[in-house]
């Protein structure tokens, strides 16, 4: 009495093929730079390119700063909404979802209009100012992921009672945030951080239109001008993303304590 089993397997197979076939194709193509045999030539070329290194490290630095700013903005906000403003949660959630609804191109044109050289805050006037603007843009783009990750983490602990317990023991707000709340949502924060990292590394629109030397525009440039290297870059980008996902798993597993006490 189990005829539906076959359909389950078929659906799974279809899904796997849908996801992996293009990936395998890309991988296979990236290895064919040398005529007639497989080689890592495309990877060698890409990794030896000084521009690759420059743009990649630029994006990595920016990703780390974005994560830092994201954590500083999101963790206290999500905490405060859970603790004191539960009625505002739908509103805050809606706001954090906006970056998914508003295309990055609209966001970046808004930025350019708001922060151009003739505005009160002429961020686009200098390279450093533009870097800062780009970083905040990235923080905005990663908001939906960061907020949701942190909020889920906060849901696993009894925020209100833990806060009250810490307060009754004489702790102030900074101590409560740093010693009680943050350590308990660290795994959630990290998973948000890795998602942010993956987004920043591959982002194109913001970086291209603000004319910053990030990894995304470099990827596009190579893609438009070379044959095998873009495939190699795509595989590298995939590997980085997957490494991030793996790290989330790893961190979760190595945490000594559990946030579910009963």
């Amino acid at each position: 009495m189990k005829p539906p089993r076959i359909w389950a397997w078929l659906a799974l197979a279809f899904g796997l093929i849908y996801f992996f076939l293009p990936l395998i194709g890309t991988l296979e193509f990236s290895l064919r730079m040398r005529r007639g045999e497989y080689s890592f030539d495309a990877y060698r070329v890409v990794l030896a390119d000084p521009q690759f290194r420059a743009t990649f490290s630029y994006s990595v630095i920016l990703a780390c700063l974005t994560i830092l700013v994201g954590v500083i903005i999101v963790v206290p906000t999500a905490y405060w909404v859970r603790l004191r403003l539960p009625r505002w949660r739908p509103v805050v959630e809606f706001i954090t979802l906006l970056p998914l609804v508003i295309p990055p191109i609209v966001i970046v044109f808004g930025y350019i209009r708001l922060y151009n050289t003739s505005s009160i805050l002429p961020l686009t006037g200098t390279a450093m100012g533009t870097n800062v603007l780009l970083m905040f843009g990235y923080a905005t783009l990663s908001l939906p992921y960061m907020y949701r990750a942190v909020d889920t983490g906060l849901r696993a602990i009894d925020v209100a009672t833990l806060t009250e317990a810490a307060e009754s023991l004489g702790a102030g707000w900074i101590t409560i945030m740093a010693r009680v709340i943050l350590p308990n949502v660290l795994v959630a924060v990290l998973s948000g951080a890795f998602l942010t990292f993956a987004i920043v590394i591959g982002e194109f629109v913001l970086a291209a239109l603000l004319n910053r030397p990030a990894f995304g525009p470099y990827l596009q440039l190579i893609g438009a001008n070379r044959a095998y290297e873009p495939a190699a870059l795509a595989v590298i980008a995939f590997a980085i993303t997957w490494a991030c996902m793996g790290l989330i798993q790893l961190v979760t597993r190595f945490q000594k304590f559990k946030t579910v006490p009963r």
Partner: protein
């Protein structure tokens, strides 16, 4: 002078008046319970003492200092929560040390104090464990140690045993009381469990609808309940409608059977008044004169362990009778007619609205 002084305390949540003119003086080292059904305002009152809620009106003084405008962290209180509220990211020792660390105590002294506290709660070997590795009872003991480590002036416990199972509840309540006595710490204990309140407290505040209905020691609360609510909430109580025949001599009839209370009763002749009797104040058989007597038919018999509860039907009303379960005496069977005897002094004439 009282160590903890609460006077004229009021709390409104919008149109809801949840605590009404609450007044209480707690002596140093005293153990006071707030007892009442859920929603009676007992937890709100406790949280106002802790500083987690702001009173709409009133004064709270701890050791002579007005604390109403102080933050919880400045009030010198220790709090134990129903949900334990141990910090999941810290070990038992780190949890106990938290308040000491915040207070800036030097490290060697913290270690000594933590060891001392773990010894008091009899878990000296569990310092390195995380909360998720402990049972509920152990977690609550750690929470108690954590609250006491900072040597607060007042210890507040908000239904600390409600999440535990019955056996641990009884042993832990004895332990909490023993530790409280040993340290001599002024304590407020919130519970909806009357047995817990009776067993632990120096005094009990019975609350209903934000009002302290009666404040007294357990003996007084149980044997001399001031209102019908207190009588029915604390312990089991038979409440019977009686017709008052003669207010001056206290002659009443219950389902046609006369009872002479031998004291004046407030009311008019012919009026129906509620009188009550504890199930254990009634004996089977005809007791000594002069006493109260009733005759009825056994409705049901249930064994409650050391006690047997017999439901006896009169002519329309019925009442419960508790007798000790002894092997020497078989309880009557349903359908049998039994005589009931009681001392008229045990009959309570209650005031206050019925529930």
């Amino acid at each position: 002078m009282a160590f903890l002084e609460i006077s004229g305390l009021q709390k409104f949540y919008g149109p809801n008046h949840v605590v009404r003119d609450f007044n209480l003086d707690v002596g140093e080292g005293e153990f006071v319970s707030f007892l009442g059904p859920s929603g009676c305002g007992k937890t709100t009152t406790l949280r106002m003492v802790a500083g987690f809620e702001t009173p709409s009106e009133g004064v709270i003084r701890i050791d002579g200092r007005d604390v109403v405008n102080l933050k919880p962290s400045q009030r010198d209180i220790g709090m134990v929560f129903q949900a334990y509220a141990l910090f999941p990211n810290m070990t038992v020792a780190q949890n106990v040390a938290f308040g000491l660390k915040v207070a800036g105590m030097p490290r060697p002294r913290i270690a000594a104090r933590v060891a001392e506290m773990l010894a008091i709660i009899k878990l000296p070997e569990l310092g390195a464990r995380f909360p998720f590795q402990l049972s509920g009872g152990q977690q609550q003991r750690v929470a108690l140690a954590r609250a006491l480590a900072v040597q607060p002036k007042v210890l507040l416990l908000d239904e600390p045993l409600s999440a535990l199972d019955a056996k641990i509840r009884v042993s832990l309540r004895e332990e909490i009381r023993a530790i409280q006595r040993k340290l001599g710490i002024t304590t407020i204990y919130v519970t909806h469990d009357q047995e817990e309140a009776l067993a632990m407290s120096d005094r009990i505040v019975v609350m209903r609808d934000g009002i302290a209905e009666q404040i007294g020691d357990p003996f007084e609360i149980y044997n001399r309940p001031a209102t019908r609510f207190v009588a029915s909430f604390v312990g089991t109580l038979n409440v019977l409608d009686a017709r008052l025949l003669d207010p001056a001599t206290g002659l009443v009839t219950v389902d046609g059977q006369e009872i002479r209370l031998a004291r004046a009763v407030r009311g008019e002749a012919g009026e129906t008044i509620p009188i009550s009797l504890r199930p254990q104040a009634i004996l089977l058989g005809s007791g000594p004169d002069p006493g109260g007597r009733l005759r009825g038919r056994v409705d049901s018999v249930s064994f409650l362990g050391s006690v047997v509860r017999i439901r006896v039907a009169l002519d329309g009303q019925n009442l419960a009778v508790d007798i000790f379960n002894t092997a020497a005496m078989r309880p009557p069977k349903p359908g049998e007619t039994v005589d009931l005897a009681f001392a008229t002094g045990d009959v309570l004439v209650l005031e206050g609205a019925a529930d």
